[in-house]
């Protein structure tokens, strides 16, 4: 029973995310459309019209319904623990049939596609054990176009703050016209190579109306956004002022010899949902 509830909760989360973006992203796109003109504006107007019709017609916003990715904060006293992996995988199979989602899990050696968005290490599931008896699940439908421009820079520590900033500007330039801009840019500074990239991806999930609590980092985020947008790549790479809706930074302590900088981008179709589950399996959708 509790298993069934959790599963249907996750299917519900995936379905909602397919048809809409969270309000903070929608509002940022509307603001950008007001500020732009010409081709940039017409691209943003097409995006807004698409979002409107996706909701009305219950059709996926984008045909790339992404790699199903889950960040789970699992209460140590929540009744389901190791079983959560199977439940999420089952929910992914069901949502793939129901929505329907595009089958995006492919064997890299044989190109075989199982057709249900599952496979080796798919869905992607990150679990953190936290105090308490509840579970919070964040679902991200990560498109291939924006994932393909993920970048890792293993800088020499003498590169310092300037080097970090240059790496992020370079990452945006290298991504160029490819990741379906406007994008949310996540930056992970420090840690090891894997941690930098993971933090970068997590940083893209921070709501656009939530400020970085660290005043210095907030200033760096603003500066990078302004510099990156001044390159004029614009929506869809056809020119304009809005390449980045935001730059978000996360960080970790690092080895003295290393300065990893991970950069992850989330396309404007930032499809994510968040739900809280009670110990009896009842759930409340928090986003969208």
């Amino acid at each position: 029973m509790i298993e069934e509830r959790i599963k249907s909760g996750i299917v519900d989360m995936m379905e909602r995310a397919a048809f809409r973006v969270p309000d903070d992203v929608l509002n940022a796109l509307k603001r950008a459309a007001e500020e732009e003109s010409g081709v940039a504006k017409s691209n943003l107007m097409a995006i807004l019209k698409n979002l409107d019709e996706a909701g009305r017609l219950r059709l996926p916003i984008c045909q790339d319904t992404g790699t199903p990715t889950f960040f789970v904060e699992l209460g140590e006293d929540f009744p389901i623990r190791a079983g959560i992996y199977n439940l999420i995988t089952e929910a992914v199979r069901e949502a793939t049939r129901k929505v329907p989602l595009r089958p995006n899990s492919v064997n890299p050696w044989t190109y075989e596609n199982p057709g249900d968005n599952t496979g080796r290490f798919v869905p992607v599931i990150h679990v953190d054990i936290v105090p308490g008896d509840r579970m919070r699940v964040t679902y991200l439908a990560k498109g291939g176009g924006s994932e393909n421009v993920s970048q890792l820079f293993m800088l020499p520590p003498v590169a310092g703050l300037k080097g970090i900033k240059q790496a992020v500007v370079n990452a945006a330039y290298n991504a160029g016209t490819q990741p379906c801009p406007p994008v949310i840019i996540g930056v992970g500074v420090g840690g090891s190579a894997d941690i930098a990239i993971k933090l970068a991806k997590k940083a893209t999930l921070r709501p656009l109306n939530e400020r970085n609590p660290d005043e210095n980092l907030r200033k760096i985020e603003e500066e990078l956004k302004e510099k990156i947008n001044s390159m004029g790549i614009g929506p869809m790479g056809l020119g304009g002022k809005t390449f980045a809706l935001a730059v978000h930074i996360e960080w970790a302590h690092k080895h003295p010899a290393s300065l990893p900088v991970g950069v992850s981008m989330l396309c404007w179709a930032a499809r994510k949902s968040i739900a809280d589950f009670l110990p009896n399996g009842e759930f409340r959708i928090v986003v969208p």
């Binding site: 984008c62 045909q63 790339d64 176009g145």
Partner: protein, 197 residues
């Protein structure tokens, strides 16, 4: 200029298109992304015919969402994918099969631009992620080939009506709007590197 084009189209028609023009397409378009390009060029090398004649056609960089209801396929998602992935093979593809229009998102580079100029072809940019508007232009699925590659990678032959708006981003006269934008970005990036502290 704004054009309403019906496929197949002639070289003369495609030569009229200029970078920045807006184009709506009706008629048959054929999806082809990574694996269609790979397999089609293998067929060409081996002298085997493709299941569909691509002369004068529009090839669409798209991996759709499709579901089968009874005997009929229904398209649920029909937005463009990143064209840059096909850059290394598109010039050969155009040359081999006589395609006149390539539709996708994010643009293509030097080699494709040169081939389009030489052969008479154009690249149309559809806004990325804007899948619902594209889906609404689909009249029906006419054929599907190579389904063994999976739904996104198969070759879908689809009848559309007023598919668009797309923008001519690479024309047959050597202009490439994406490369123009990135050239400006490159010089601005150099300035930014000086400004950063």
């Amino acid at each position: 200029m704004e054009y309403y084009i019906k496929t197949p189209i002639s070289e003369e028609e495609v030569r009229k298109l200029e970078a920045g023009d807006v184009v709506y397409i009706s008629g048959k378009i054929i999806t082809g992304r990574d694996q269609v390009h790979r397999r089609a060029l293998e067929f060409y090398k081996e002298g085997k015919p493709l299941p569909v004649d691509l002369r004068g056609m529009a090839i669409y960089h798209c991996g759709p969402i499709a579901e089968k209801k009874g005997d009929e396929w229904r398209i649920v998602g029909f937005g463009p994918t990143t064209s840059a992935r096909m850059e290394s093979v598109e010039a050969d593809f155009l040359r081999a099969f006589g395609v006149r229009l390539v539709i996708g998102k994010g643009g293509m580079f030097e080699r494709t631009t040169q081939a389009m100029k030489e052969l008479g072809a154009a690249y149309l940019a559809h806004p990325g992620g804007v899948s619902v508007l594209a889906t609404k232009s689909v009249k029906r699925v006419l054929e599907v080939h190579w389904l063994d590659l999976g739904i996104p990678e198969a070759m879908w032959v689809v009848e559309v009506e007023n598919f668009g708006p797309t923008m001519v981003a690479i024309d047959s006269h050597g202009r490439n709007l994406f490369m123009e934008v990135m050239k400006r970005a490159e010089s601005r990036r150099k300035e930014i590197f000086e400004e950063l502290k």
